[in-house]
Amino acid sequence: MPDRTIANRSMIEISRVTRSYGSFKALDETSLTIREGEFFSLLGPSGCGKTTLLRMIAGFDTPTSGSISIDGQPMDGVPANRRPTNMVFQSYAIFPHLNVEQNVCYGLKRLRLDAAEEKRRVEEALAQVSLTGLGKRGALELSGGQRQRVALARALVMRPKVLLLDEPLSALDKKLREQMQVELRRLQQAVGITFVLVTHDQYEALAMSDRIAVMFGGRIAQVASPKEIYQRPVNCQVADFLGGMNFVKAEIVEENGASMTLDTPGFGRVRTDKPAAFVRNGRAATLGIRPERLRVLWDDATDAHEVAGKVVDRHYFGEITHLVIEIPGFEKPLSVTETNNFGADDIPVGASIRLAYDPDALVALAD
């Protein structure tokens, strides 16, 4: 999806920001650049500091040390109400005593636009989130999805330089969530505003973002495009957080510059790129491969790269089947996801099986 060219101008500069609560660091020396017009996601497990970072960008919280600038302006001492950012809150924070229209033009009132202009902008914002005609609805008469749209319209109508979204979709049911992901993405492309989305849902981040920052325990582990994050995670933690990953113990045979050669009992010698954050620790390393990059070999089919094993478990998921396969020499069994088009759901537990793999899909991972 990230096919638009994004200006290479930076919109948000976060440099060495730390936020401590007593001796606990919710955010630890974090630096990050978010570009203008970019759909940027902060992804990480609960408690990793995503909200903390977002709130500091919005101005609701101040860094213990470090600085943040937005659009070239340092934000130290600038209160939240004077920042060129607007926020969509996780709980939506719709004003309960106001109707939809009044909610949407809440921020406009202060600008003292003439009545016609104000009305035009409110209508435009409501149209952007497909709420046309619901302007007179009371805030308490809205469904979850509608509230979410009102919150979005209320922020967009201010034409901020940056829109901050804190898990905006997490309260919606699955269907609506998927629909809103598409809509949010389309909206962002239409208005061209920089979006910063906080989420702990890796699929959401992968589906919507131009770039993703993966965070763990107050630190950013990797910043890259969805594809790169998924295919070339820098370490086991990132790899594991973004969907399933098979980890195989390997031995470093050779290491030079940007690439390295690893030896494993099952996959043999493999030459891979060296991850940026790789820290050599003796001769041991880890090799990862995604379950969908392993392929079942049927009947007499052969492949240049194959491993043989025995099915020990099987989970049916409708369009796909997860197979758990024990391979001699591997510490842990491999997970394989196979589409059910060829009858993977009929492979009995206990069957002997051969798997083909693409050596390019093997990634070396820092621990």
Binding site: N81, M87, F89, A93, P96, H97, Y106, R110
Partner: protein, 305 residues
């Protein structure tokens, strides 16, 4: 119900029936509240009915003539003494409610928004003065406002006045001050509760949309705390109209309120029916005024948007 003779029988239209379990639950519920109900009937409904009945009778010295008459109401509504007393009581209670709420709001706001983890402690501290008797608190205002009181000595000590003044005690102002102090805590609580209920992210959202502290208070916090303000006003206004201890002790001649007149009818003047009629009239007027105030505050809040 008739069963269709032929074809496929669709799902029979079932009328929602009362679940027997629910019924028994309702019965159990009733039996549970019945002590309260009996209590309420004996101590609330019966006395009011007695007062109502009395108000239509006539007192002949020690006898009560039980023939129906509206004479008591004619006196209560037209006699200038009672009319003035009632108006003054309403005025005093209005002033008291206004000052009480104005004082209580900042206190409640401070505790709710800046009380941190010590909210409970703050509330507790506020209630401490109320551990002493109401009478004592009224008397202490006498000590403060009296001729030889704290206020006079302070003013003289500062050289602001030459001699003691008797202007502070025994008038309407003294009644208003004393009642305001007496009711302040009762107003803090409902306002505090309504402020506590306000989702803090709403205030953040207002900030995010560009409002500074004053604007977000006027546009979000204040309108959302209106229910608390209304209950505070009612909690203070309704009982103060009927207060007779405070006017008796610090009110002097100017500070007499309707309740003093009612008390006199049931006491020295020994005209229970007139006292009853005055009570019923006061109740009716207070109810009307309370309703009027609720509507006014609500409308003001709506206008403020």
């Amino acid at each position: 119900m008739t069963v269709p003779a032929e074809g496929i029988v669709g799902p029979a239209p079932v009328r929602r029936q009362r679940n027997p379990v629910l019924q028994s639950e309702a019965a159990r519920g009733l039996s549970l509240i019945s002590p309260t109900l009996i209590y309420a009937v004996i101590f609330l409904v019966v006395p009011i009915l007695l007062v109502l009945a009395n108000s239509f009778w006539t007192q002949h010295y020690l006898e009560i003539d039980r023939t129906f008459t509206l004479e008591n109401y004619r006196v209560a509504l037209t006699d200038p003494i009672y009319r003035d007393l009632l108006l003054r009581s309403l005025w005093i209670s209005l002033l008291v409610s206004f000052f009480t709420v104005t004082l209580a709001y900042p206190i409640a706001y401070f505790i709710s928004f800046h009380g941190g983890v010590h909210k409970g402690l703050w509330l507790f501290l506020i209630t401490i003065p109320f551990w002493t008797s109401y009478l004592l608190r009224v008397m202490s205002w006498k000590v403060i406002l009296g001729y030889n009181g704290v206020l006079n000595s302070t003013l003289m000590g500062l050289g602001l006045t030459d001699g003691p003044s008797d202007a502070f005690l025994y008038n309407t102002t003294a009644v208003v001050i004393t009642l305001t102090h007496a009711w302040a805590t009762f107003a803090v609580l409902p306002i505090f509760v309504s402020l506590e209920k306000i989702d803090r992210t709403l205030v953040e959202a207002a900030t995010d949309l560009g409002d500074g502290p004053l604007r977000r208070f006027l546009r979000i916090t204040l309108p959302l705390s209106v229910p608390g303000i209304i209950s505070a006003v009612l909690i203070v206004m309704i009982p103060t109209v009927g207060d007779f201890v405070t006017p008796r002790l610090v009110g002097g001649k100017d500070g007499v309120m309707i309740a003093n007149a009612i008390q006199a009818q049931f006491g020295k003047a020994a005209n229970w029916p007139l006292g009853a009629a005055l009570s019923v009239t006061t109740m009716a007027v207070v109810t009307a005024m309370a309703a009027f105030i609720v509507v006014t505050i609500r409308m003001a809040a709506r206008r403020a948007r």
